[in-house]
């Protein structure tokens, strides 16, 4: 009991000092189990490679330049899609959140299109735009758009009415109220929307790359299936998880917390 407590307090102190450790340590048993299963030879090696094989493949593909290229393609696609999704989603969300009429008209339409999942658009997109960047971008933008719009609306509506009134009584025009009150007040929600949108977009992108891609991590994984390279498939999966973990846990989540807590908009 005492030993456990001491171990726990040591762990708490250590992870306080090096927060990155808290993210890495839980994976040690997972990787160990994986190694053990692979080493036990229950499954054929080519069918179930171990961590060392995956690391080797990572080094080779990086050295050849394939991995950096594909990764770059995927990330650029995601961010282009996210940028367009935000450029459309934030103004639309603000409009719906501020105008009762826009809300009445757009909301049912929005919910209808949200119900049609991103991938469900692929058949018609392939006919319209073919296998290419337009189709991919459309799907990403579509995926990012809804969480951004819905959360922006939520954010705009959550700004206390008295704040806008105070600004008006201090001489702000309606346009300045938008800029000085509505947008900053909605920002924590907008970032939540962006965080969700990027998460969904990242997953949708991989799926789309598998179907229409000629490059990218999704393409790499699907291509590896054709050549029967289990190692590369596993490598792709690990990169997906890792990259998202880094972006979400180290960039988006802190950003979300920073805006919300600093301003006392979220209670925690």
């Amino acid at each position: 009991m005492n030993v456990l407590l001491q171990f726990w307090s040591g762990y708490a102190r250590m992870t306080r000092r090096w927060p990155a450790l808290a993210a890495i340590i839980p994976f040690i048993p997972v990787v160990a189990l994986w190694s053990a299963v692979a080493a036990a030879g229950i499954f054929p090696r080519a069918f179930f490679p171990g961590p060392v094989d995956v690391v080797n493949s990572f080094v080779t593909l990086t050295y050849k330049g394939i991995l950096p290229d594909y990764l770059g393609d995927s990330v650029i696609r995601l961010f282009t899609g996210a940028a367009v999704g935000m450029a459309l989603g934030i103004p639309l969300g603000v409009l719906i959140g501020t105008s009762r009429w826009a809300h009445r008209i757009c909301w049912p339409i929005l919910l209808f299109f949200q119900a049609i999942g991103d991938i469900a658009w692929l058949p018609i997109l392939l006919i319209w735009f073919g296998f290419g960047l337009t189709t991919m971008t459309f799907v990403i933008v579509y995926t990012v758009l809804f969480p951004v719009v819905l959360n922006t609306v939520l954010g705009v509506e959550s700004v206390p009415r008295d704040l806008a009134r105070a600004a008006r009584s201090l001489g702000a025009s309606p346009a300045r109220v938008l800029w000085e009150v509505t947008l900053p007040g909605a920002l924590p929600n907008i970032i939540t929307g962006l965080r969700n949108g990027l998460g969904y977009g990242w997953r949708a992108l991989i799926a789309v790359e598998m179907i229409v891609g000629t490059s990218g991590i999704g393409f790499m994984m699907f291509d590896a299936r054709r050549s029967g390279s289990t190692v590369e498939i596993l490598l792709g999966m690990i990169i997906l998880g890792l990259l998202w973990y880094i972006v979400d846990a180290w960039i988006l989540a802190p950003l979300e917390r920073a805006t919300g807590q600093r301003w006392g908009l979220v209670t925690s």
Binding site: R165, R168, L170
Partner: protein
């Protein structure tokens, strides 16, 4: 003279769900002279907030008129400063930037509006809090910021809707004393709304008693200033006036 005058002011709300009308304010006429401090007191639901919201321009009125300096008011504007019960400070701005917001909207350059903001923060004894964010302040301090933010914009009239209702009793008394002190220094025109009779009497030159959307009576409060609670709680005249107003409010 910049007089605020309400002439036969009326407001009928329409409730679209019930499909019915609510007469919140019937026929209210009040004049507030420049430099005067007028309290409006009445039981909850008698239309106080409705009146203030109409003067502030937050909601339209359905009868009568509101004149400021002889001109009808329409929509919100900086010549009518508002202090809210909810404080309504901008959480993402520092105290300094909150107080400098009005001047900023007028296009006053940064250095000058910081100077103005600091001057007003000093007036409320808040100089040390200039760079803090509202959520780092106590309720009493937040409302001090709310008051000087409105004052720093130099409004013709200051509208206050139960501004001290959500702070604790001790802090409330301090805030009331500070408000009378600031009023004596700067002589702003104030329309102060409250359901608290001693508060109304303590602060005002004149108390307007409201009942069911109508003015019941107006009472001059000729108590000497400066006013502090330690003196007034023992003052016979204060007790008399408070009792008189209280009686009217309770009968209302």
């Amino acid at each position: 003279m910049k007089t605020l005058s309400l002439k036969n002011l009326a407001k009928t709300y329409f409730d679209p769900y019930a499909g019915s009308h609510v007469n919140a304010v019937h026929d209210v006429s009040i004049d507030v002279e420049q430099g005067e401090f007028v309290s409006v007191v009445g039981p909850s639901g008698c239309g106080k907030t409705t009146i203030l919201n109409m003067i502030a321009g937050f909601i339209p009125y359905t009868g009568g008129e509101i004149l400021l300096d002889g001109k009808p008011v329409k929509g919100p504007g900086p010549e009518r400063g508002v202090v809210f019960q909810s404080f309504a400070l901008f959480p993402w701005k520092t105290v300094l930037d909150n107080v400098g917001f009005g001047p900023k909207m007028r296009g006053v350059p940064k250095a000058e509006r910081d100077r103005i903001a600091r001057e007003y923060l000093a007036l409320a004894g808040l100089s040390h809090a200039a760079h803090r964010y509202p959520n780092e302040l106590s309720g009493g301090m937040q409302q001090r910021v709310g008051v000087v933010r409105a004052l720093a914009n130099n409004p013709d009239v200051l509208l206050m809707d139960e501004p001290f209702a959500s702070v604790d009793a001790q802090t409330r008394m301090t805030l009331q004393e500070e408000l009378t002190r600031i009023w004596q220094e700067r002589k702003p025109t104030v329309l102060f709304i409250t359901h608290d009779v001693p508060e109304a009497v303590f602060l005002a030159n004149r108390v307007v008693v409201l009942s069911k959307g109508r003015v019941l009576d107006q009472i001059e409060i000729d108590l000497p200033r400066p006013r502090v609670w330690d003196d007034l709680v023992k003052d016979d005249k204060f007790k008399q006036l408070s009792a008189r107003v209280l009686q009217m409010v309770r009968a209302a």
